[in-house]
Symmetry: C2
Subunit: 240 residues, 2 copies
DNA sequence: CGTGCCCGGATTGTCAACCATTTTAGGATT
DNA sequence: AATCCTAAAATGGTTGACAATCCGGGCACG
């Protein structure tokens, strides 16, 4: 009873999200995280269809949360959904990453970090230090996923601290595609470099001096941009 | 049976969306448009709560489409929703408009217009010309709403023609807040100026020469930026 | 032999009724 | 006056059923 696929057969298994009972919280959010992780990790190919009923039985929920999750993923640019045709996984072109996603990330992070310099508390710094430490551990054991998670948290903490609603919201809708891109094609710099970047950033943040922070930040964001060689995969689009 | 309000009593009436029977299509999408228009036009105050059940009865649909609509509006930055607390209308700070939203709009439109120069067909130009004409008519009769709608379509057509999925998606998530901002505080330039801008832009596009287009585009986007004097309104946010 | 039409299965969109979970606002108690 | 408690309000999720739409394949026709 193979699920219908639009591209290839890459039989992806998803663990139910309803079990355990330990991790509470809204089902829908867990569905989002499960699917997002799966897509970013490349467990779904671009072009592949995501069928609501299939996902809901696989994840052990009803269609409601799955529908909401798909909408969320659509806003994160990981899928595109067409009326009565459902959601398909999207790819990202090299060009859009370079010319649009990275510049936007630069814009939001520059603004947010500048704001955060004025508002961050000692607790915030401590929380960030924790993420740096986690990143170090992950780097030592070569756990890319954990390192990336810490990276993510690092930036999320700073941007949350800046208290800029829209900026944060936009950032959260941008990063998943960038991550997906770097996961699909050769990744960015080495894990060690990544840790070092963040260690320096934390130190700079503590000085609360924009002149210290901004160069590091800009370098950190723009450096992780490997040479092209990417194909796009960006299924069907019609006129308006 | 006044609806519960969090800020003031601004008794807003919404026409049902289910009637008529002429305009078909997914209910949910119509709900989105109704609410978006209402918010942008300022018929809901920032801080005001949007209650699913109230909206669904007012609009004549079930809660399902309303829920999806609220999610969509959340991605457009018009509302923010917190777990078990529902959706609240958001304001936009002057600063975020200047330092984040406008720069992002610049990024996506520059890229998209450049791409479109290579791909636009005669039909596209014709469709754009139609919007310019509609804008002229609206300007003559002083119909701001219609003029803005044509403006919107103008840019949407070009960006759709460019075929850049993510860029288009991001643009659609950005413009509503910018519109809301300009509607709330004194608007941008005059309608005549707006028409002239687009007329020139269309002519420039037809030359397919980036050197002709870009200066006009950048001026068009950045010019509409009235002096500050804005308050923010950006209800409750906690730590992560 | 190709072309176009029609049909039925698959999938999304919507509805309705219901219960669980959580927040919130009063009210009672101390 | 402050605290705790309770009940109403609202959201989150479930189920089951339809309606609307898309898509692929078979069939008749040129």
């Amino acid at each position: 009873m193979a699920v219908t696929r639009a591209v290839e057969t890459s039989q992806t298994e998803l663990a139910p999200v309803a079990d355990g009972g330990l991790k509470a919280g809204r089902r829908g959010q867990q569905v989002v995280e499960t699917l997002r992780t799966a897509i970013i990790a490349g467990r779904f190919e671009p072009g592949e269809r995501l069928i609501e009923s299939a996902l809901s039985t696989e994840l052990g929920t009803s269609r409601g949360p799955v529908r909401e999750a798909l909408r969320q993923l659509e806003n994160e640019g990981l899928v595109m959904s067409l009326p009565y045709r459902g959601a398909v996984v999207l790819g990202v072109s090299d060009e859009e990453v370079q010319h649009v996603l990275i510049p936007i990330r630069l814009t939001v992070e520059r603004y947010s970090f500048a704001k955060a310099l004025e508002t961050m508390t000692e607790d915030d710094f401590a929380e960030i230090a924790k993420q740096v430490w986690l990143m170090e551990q992950a780097a030592k054991s070569g756990d890319l996923t954990k390192a990336v998670e810490a990276d993510l948290q690092f930036h999320d903490i700073v941007m949350t601290a800046s208290g800029q609603t829209h900026t944060l919201q936009i950032w959260r809708s941008i990063w998943p595609r960038i991550r997906a891109y770097f996961f699909r094609y050769g990744r960015s710099a080495s894990l060690e470099e990544m840790v070092e970047d963040h260690r320096l950033l934390l130190a700079a943040l503590q000085t609360r001096d924009p002149k210290q922070v901004m160069p590091l930040l800009e370098r950190h964001i723009t450096v992780a941009t490997p040479p092209p060689g990417a194909k796009k995969l960006d299924p069907g689009k019609k006129r308006r």
